[in-house]
């Protein structure tokens, strides 16, 4: 039943040989990996305004600061992308910041980068899904749904999670359309809007609704350097997608590095142009930050009017934001799997599921992002301050690692490349400082606390694995031949086919000692079993033990202790006869299983942690629906 539901939702299992076909051509890789970066155009301007146009500042001041900030972000983008193209070429097997730091900087820096990345990918999902919902509820028809944004966000999140459990290739195909339509429509909005502003009849300004405007004043006020830098920090979240591309190189078709580098450049050009263009247009149209309607929606309304085009644009915006979450879904599990393979995360995260994706990582990311969305009420601008600390940490480590890399290999032209990476590292570390300082009180402290705790978890997991390995390791010199003293104890409740089968099985093991154990609760039971034992002529000694407190588990444990004292170097196998209801029975009466084996289960749990103890279940198939077989033989019997 479970497998049928899973098959329906996730699809049939894929064999390992099918992995190669999961590779992406550039046209699909672009939407898969760049949607994160491109989608930030949907909220970045707004988030900058949420910082620069509220409080002591005014809308006019905030709008005037928007264009220089966007320009700065675009320049930062160019620097980081130039630097990252080298990383992609140097690490065709996936040059995420974690790998680059591990190879070039050592263990601890790589753990910082890895933890920071995991946090940021989780935030990418939370921010993007929240922003996507914001785009949806900005549509006037859906505005009343604004109160349910958390619920809508969680539904979207589960849809994305499921798509990813199906596999990269298919989710790429499903998600290509919204990305391309968003890019097309936003370009249309920006270029048509700007063309009208500068060449034709200007678009009328967005009418200011003082009720919905989050700021204090429209004109005047003051805007300090701190707020401008804080606004810049909010804009810098646009760079998160770059890391995703570098991480995902192996998913590209061959030649991976070349294709990935080209795709990265295409993405950077589109992102830079649209980001800057949006800011420029916002500067002219004077939208205002509001919780009810996004800035982009206000602008689209002003340029396109309330028509089909506006509706499609909003849907495409929501679509690409959902895709941005998808990027993180493609990369969080991959980074987690690399970290897990190094022994810093549970090994289960390193395994591909039956659809060839890292299923466990996908599930964990979904849960983490769901928690964030719920915790922050699905509001993008509450999540943004937490964002970008992680990604700039990993940028800095990655590029610093690349400087080391270039110095180590000294391939032709390494000096220039090292300079580019070094410059990038200096710039991103500066940005990191700015982000951490300006947004510290409004939320950046969260990753500064969470990342170190994740690192300590990494180290604890690794320490555990190391200890277990050390405990299991053995050299040929350490092997000493010591005969095992094997005792088999068959638990008997009454004499029936099931018990006899278990006794036969136990004898076939040919142990050093064999005995049947009967836990007597009442005098009559004891006499009955003894009489039966004799009547059946069973050759196995029957040990009868009292249970003064009418328990099963406790006397068995005490008996095993007595056996331990009797023989040295012993291993005890406890044989438990069990019912298995045959298919004909179990299918019709699922609940009948509950009627059996409950004490066997309790016993197994109790003996699980007992050293040198093996618990064996000997199944007896009962199938009273079908004639013959075990069906009519079940139950007690006569000699």
């Amino acid at each position: 039943m479970y497998s049928a539901v899973k098959r329906f939702l996730v699809g049939r299992p894929l064999s390992t040989a099918e992995l190669e076909h999961q590779r992406l051509p550039k046209t699909l890789a672009l939407p898969v990996f760049s949607s994160d970066a491109l989608s930030s155009t949907a909220y970045a301007s707004e988030e900058i305004l949420f910082v620069t146009a509220v409080g002591a500042s005014s809308l006019a001041l905030g709008l005037s600061a928007l264009v220089p900030i966007a320009l700065a972000v675009a320049i930062l983008l160019a620097i980081v992308v130039t630097s990252y193209r080298q990383t992609i070429h140097a690490y065709p097997t996936g040059g995420g910041s974690y790998v680059v730091s591990r190879e070039n900087l050592g263990r601890n820096p790589s753990l910082v980068a890895g933890a920071a990345l995991l946090v940021d990918y989780t935030l990418t999902v939370a921010v993007s899904v929240s922003a996507g919902v914001a785009a949806l509820v900005s549509i006037p028809t859906f505005r009343h749904l604004g109160d349910n944004r958390v619920g809508i966000a969680l539904i979207l999140l589960s849809i994305i999670g499921l798509a990813n459990l199906r596999g990269v290739r298919e989710s790429g195909a499903v998600f290509a359309a919204p990305t391309y339509s968003y890019v097309l429509l936003l370009s249309g909005l920006v270029f048509y809007g700007l063309a009208r502003e500068f060449l034709g009849t200007p678009v009328p300004d967005v009418p200011l609704d003082p009720e919905r405007f989050e700021g204090m004043s429209v004109f005047g006020g003051e805007l300090g350097l701190f707020l401008i830098l804080k606004g810049f920090s909010s804009g810098a979240v646009a760079l998160t997608g770059i890391e995703a591309m570098a991480d995902g190189v192996p998913v590209f078709r061959k030649p991976e590095s070349k294709n990935a580098a080209i795709t990265l450049t295409i993405m950077a050009v589109i992102l830079g142009t649209l980001f800057f263009g949006t800011a420029l247009l916002a500067n002219r149209l004077r939208p205002y930050p509001s919780h009810e309607e996004t800035v982009l929606s206000q602008m689209a309304d002003a340029v396109f009017g309330q028509g089909a085009l506006y509706l499609v644009f909003q849907l495409a915006t929501a679509g690409i934001l959902v895709l941005a979450a998808n990027t993180a879904f493609a990369d969080f599990p991959r980074v987690a799997s690399i970290i897990a393979r190094d022994g810093f995360l549970p090994r289960q995260l390193a395994n591909r599921g039956d659809r060839l994706v890292f299923s466990n990582g996908i599930v964990i990311l979904g849960l983490g992002a769901g928690t964030l969305i719920t915790g922050f009420g699905g509001r993008t601008n509450a999540l943004i301050p937490l964002y970008a600390v992680g990604v700039f940490t990993s940028f800095t480590f990655s590029q610093a690692g690349m400087v080391r890399y270039q110095r180590k290999w000294r391939r032709p032209g390494w000096q220039l490349r090292a300079t580019v990476s070094g410059f990038g590292a200096v710039v991103t570390s500066g940005v990191l400082l700015v982000v951490a300082v300006t947004k510290f009180t409004s939320g950046a402290w969260v990753p500064l606390v969470v990342v170190p705790s994740i690192i300590s978890v990494f180290l604890a997991i690794r320490r555990h694995y190391d200890r277990v390995d050390a405990a299991l390791a053995i050299t040929p010199e350490e092997v000493k031949p010591e005969p095992l003293n094997h005792t088999v104890v068959v638990l008997v409740g009454r004499i029936d086919r099931r018990a006899l089968k278990a006794l036969d099985y136990a004898s076939s093991l040919r142990p050093n000692h064999i005995m049947a154990l009967y836990i007597a609760q009442e005098e009559a039971d004891r006499e009955a079993i003894q009489a039966q034992w004799e009547a059946f002529g069973i050759a196995v000694p029957l040990e009868i033990k009292g249970s003064p407190y009418r328990e099963l588990v406790e006397p068995v444990e005490r008996f095993l202790e007595e056996i331990d004292q009797r023989w040295t170097n012993d291993t005890v196998t406890v044989v438990i006869p069990e019912f298995v209801l045959g298919k004909g029975v179990a299918g019709k009466w699922l609940f009948e299983n509950v009627l059996h084996n409950q004490s066997a289960l309790a016993l197994k749990l109790a003996l699980l942690y007992r050293p040198n103890t093996v618990v064996t279940s000997v199944p007896f198939h009962v199938d009273y629906a079908a004639p013959g077989g075990d069906a009519d033989k079940a139950g007690t019997m006569t000699p």
């Binding site: 005995m515 004891r526 003894q530 004799e534 000694p541 033990k545 009292g546 007595e562 009797r566 040295t568």
Partner: protein, 120 residues
Amino acid sequence: MALKDKFKRLTATPAELDAERLREFCSAVPNAKPIGEVAPRERATVVGEVQSWRIVPKPDGSPWLEATVTDGTGTVVAMWTGRKRIAGIHEGRRLVLTGRGHPSGRTARLVILNPRYELL
């Protein structure tokens, strides 16, 4: 009773409480030696409770009956050859055994062959 002892009584498992009661009972029986102090091959009289008992069937028709007896200081196994059943010997029964204990198995566990017994 000191508070410490009271607390001990509350936290002790039933098995520990049983063992304590048994020790008290057995030490009150005159002439009996604590099982833990019986030396191998020494003829001794001990008192204790049957923990478990077993019938060891033999195909040739000469079974024996074994009872594991403890007084809280140690354990002896009483073995009666040729007997399948002795009325009154069953789990939880207290009895006095007299006989010579022989070590058996790898760890020194005393086995008294055909001891004289007295049910209590």
